[in-house]
């Protein structure tokens, strides 16, 4: 029974008449649950990335990319616990946090509550459980490094990649995070990035650019005479699966970024965020389909999938803008800039296996600017925030990658690349019975 909704309202009124507001403890439960709910959805995005990337690589590198994905999520979880959360959120000086919250644990008050103390009111006033917040922040951190794994696939060695993942999630991402969500200088300037078009997606995207440049393209991708030999992804159903899972998880990514559910205002805001998130992705898909048809006379499924991601990334900076039409347009433009960026990167010989740079960095920049364009922020400040991400992430990740290159080596040798990483670095071939 739907519209019959109107029949329900009286009963709500009846039962709700005594006290109209949400009690502090109820709000605490709602807020905490939102973090858990949103966090679980964003955790699931790690699978989305894993599947998307497994679909876009060749058979012979499929196990390696799966391993990198489960490893990076695990490493992110550990590094963010050890130092990342603390650097990002604890005693942020403006430029960076401290190590005071390393090995982050429940608060003393919460532990007391669990041990039987009757400090419910004090706890309720904190608004949410610290562990739930930690969880929600951690999964965002994992997203940033997921972006790198896809772009650099099929040629980066497994161990150096895992070490870079530790650097990225333990240091690089938390520093930029401290400037923004941690309350540092960009936050003080009023930089507006609701769920992280820049903070998560561009940061990951810049590291991906640096990785691709230092690694160089896959063997055979660009020939000396300037020709491009595309290397088709082995498994499109996996790529589509990954894209849909990302879309699904994004409701937690953006919706959870309201950071509270314990009032009508928050519930309304999240509803709007969810609708905008969805319609932006729709716009991204439709725009990418139409544009790929125009540009290539045929539809490119892989570009349509990237279009969905680009639409989602684009709306991530401002899903709280209250006009759904605007969101649709922001998403559609995200799909367009991504579709255009894909062949441009190829012309620049930046070999991004999954289109991560186009979908996350390019669309992320667009989305961050769009907030200002559609009235949710100051244009100059938005530009500063975008530039700051590049200025921070490019050198730091270059240093990380170069040190790895100089020491244990970053790229597999030619023979390994020809044979595939699965046989060379792993014991596990992805599809042993399919040849």
């Amino acid at each position: 029974m739907k519209k019959i909704l109107s029949f329900l309202i009286p009963s709500l009124l009846v039962s709700g008449i005594a006290s109209a507001e949400v009690s502090a403890e109820t709000a605490f439960v709602f807020n905490t649950f939102l973090f858990i709910f949103g966090g679980i959805l964003v955790m699931f995005m790690a699978l989305g990335f894993a599947m998307l990337e497994a679909g876009f690589v060749r058979k012979k590198n499929t196990s390696a990319i799966l391993l990198k994905n489960i490893a990076l999520y695990s490493i992110a979880g550990i590094m963010f616990y050890l130092v990342g959360y603390s650097l990002m959120y604890v005693d942020v000086s403006g430029w960076i946090g401290s190590l005071g919250g390393a090995f982050y644990n429940p608060s003393a008050d919460e532990l007391a509550l669990l041990d039987g103390a009757e400090n419910v009111a004090a706890i309720a006033d904190t608004g949410y459980s610290v562990a739930s917040d930690w969880f929600f922040q951690m999964v965002f951190c994992a997203t940033a490094i997921s972006i790198v794994s896809g772009a650099c696939a099929e040629r980066i060695k497994v161990w150096p990649f895992m070490i870079f993942a530790a650097i990225m999630t333990g240091i690089i991402y938390p520093i930029y995070g401290s400037w923004t969500w941690g309350g540092g200088w960009l936050a003080e300037m009023g930089f507006s990035d609701f769920a992280g078009s820049t903070i998560v997606h561009s940061v990951g995207g810049w590291a991906a650019v640096v990785g691709c440049l230092i690694l160089g393209p896959r063997a055979g991708k660009y020939s000396k005479d300037g020709k491009i030999s595309p290397i088709a992804g082995a498994n499109m159903p996996l790529a589509a699966l990954g894209t849909f899972i990302l879309w699904f998880g994004w409701f937690g990514f953006n919706g959870g970024s309201q950071l509270a559910l314990g009032s009508a205002l928050d519930a309304v805001a999240i509803s709007i965020v969810v609708v905008n998130t969805n319609i932006a992705a729709c716009g991204g898909v439709v725009a990418a389909i139409i544009l790929s048809q125009i540009m290539y006379k045929k539809i490119d499924l892989s570009i349509a999938l990237n279009g969905a991601i680009a639409g989602l990334v684009a709306i991530t900076a401002g899903p709280d803008l209250t006009n759904h039409f605007t969101s649709m347009i922001i998403g559609a433009i995200g799909g367009i800039v991504c579709t255009i960026a894909i062949p441009m990167l190829d012309k620049m010989k930046i070999d991004d296996v999954v289109g991560a740079i186009s979908a996350h960095l390019v669309a992320g920049i667009w989305g961050t600017l769009a907030v200002a364009i559609f009235g949710g922020g100051d244009f100059i400040v938005q530009v500063i925030g975008i530039v700051a991400a590049a200025v921070l992430v490019v050198p730091l990740s270059a240093i990380g990658f170069y040190i790895l290159k100089a020491t244990i080596g970053l790229r597999v040798d030619e023979e390994t690349e020809a044979v595939g990483l699965d046989k060379a670095e792993l014991t596990t071939v992805a599809y042993p019975e399919f040849n």
């Binding site: 030999s229 595309p230 290539y296 490119d300 894909i342 062949p343 289109g355």
Partner: protein, 113 residues
């Protein structure tokens, strides 16, 4: 005895099977292949970059026959798979000095009856 090998389009395998059966040739082995001859592949697009596909999917069919049946088999195959368009494929014949039916140990012409 002879071995007649035909490189044909994959979607003609079923027609070939029916045609051979109808002329009472009771044996056939098929292998998936790729190749080119006069028909030269084509260009495809992926994520905005054009690339050449040199090989086209083909099926490679082998029929062991009595020497006397070679012409019949060539004609049967040709008729079954010919479209007159480029890419129809090739047939070639090689001499077979011995055939064995493993199950019975029969040899020579007996083995392909």
């Amino acid at each position: 005895m002879k071995l007649v090998t035909a490189i044909i389009k994959p979607d003609k395998v079923e027609a070939l099977r029916q045609a051979l059966t109808s002329v009472d040739i009771q044996g056939l082995t098929i292998v998936e292949a790729k190749g080119y001859g006069r028909q030269k592949g084509h260009t495809e697009l992926y994520r905005g970059a054009e690339y050449e596909v040199h090989f086209l999917p083909k099926s490679r069919a082998e029929v062991l026959v009595d020497s006397a049946d070679v012409e019949k088999v060539i004609t049967t195959i040709s008729d079954a798979v010919k479209s007159g368009k480029i890419g129809d494929g090739k047939i070639f014949v090689t001499e077979v000095s011995e055939v064995v039916r493993i199950r019975t140990g029969e040899r020579g012409a007996e083995a392909i009856k």
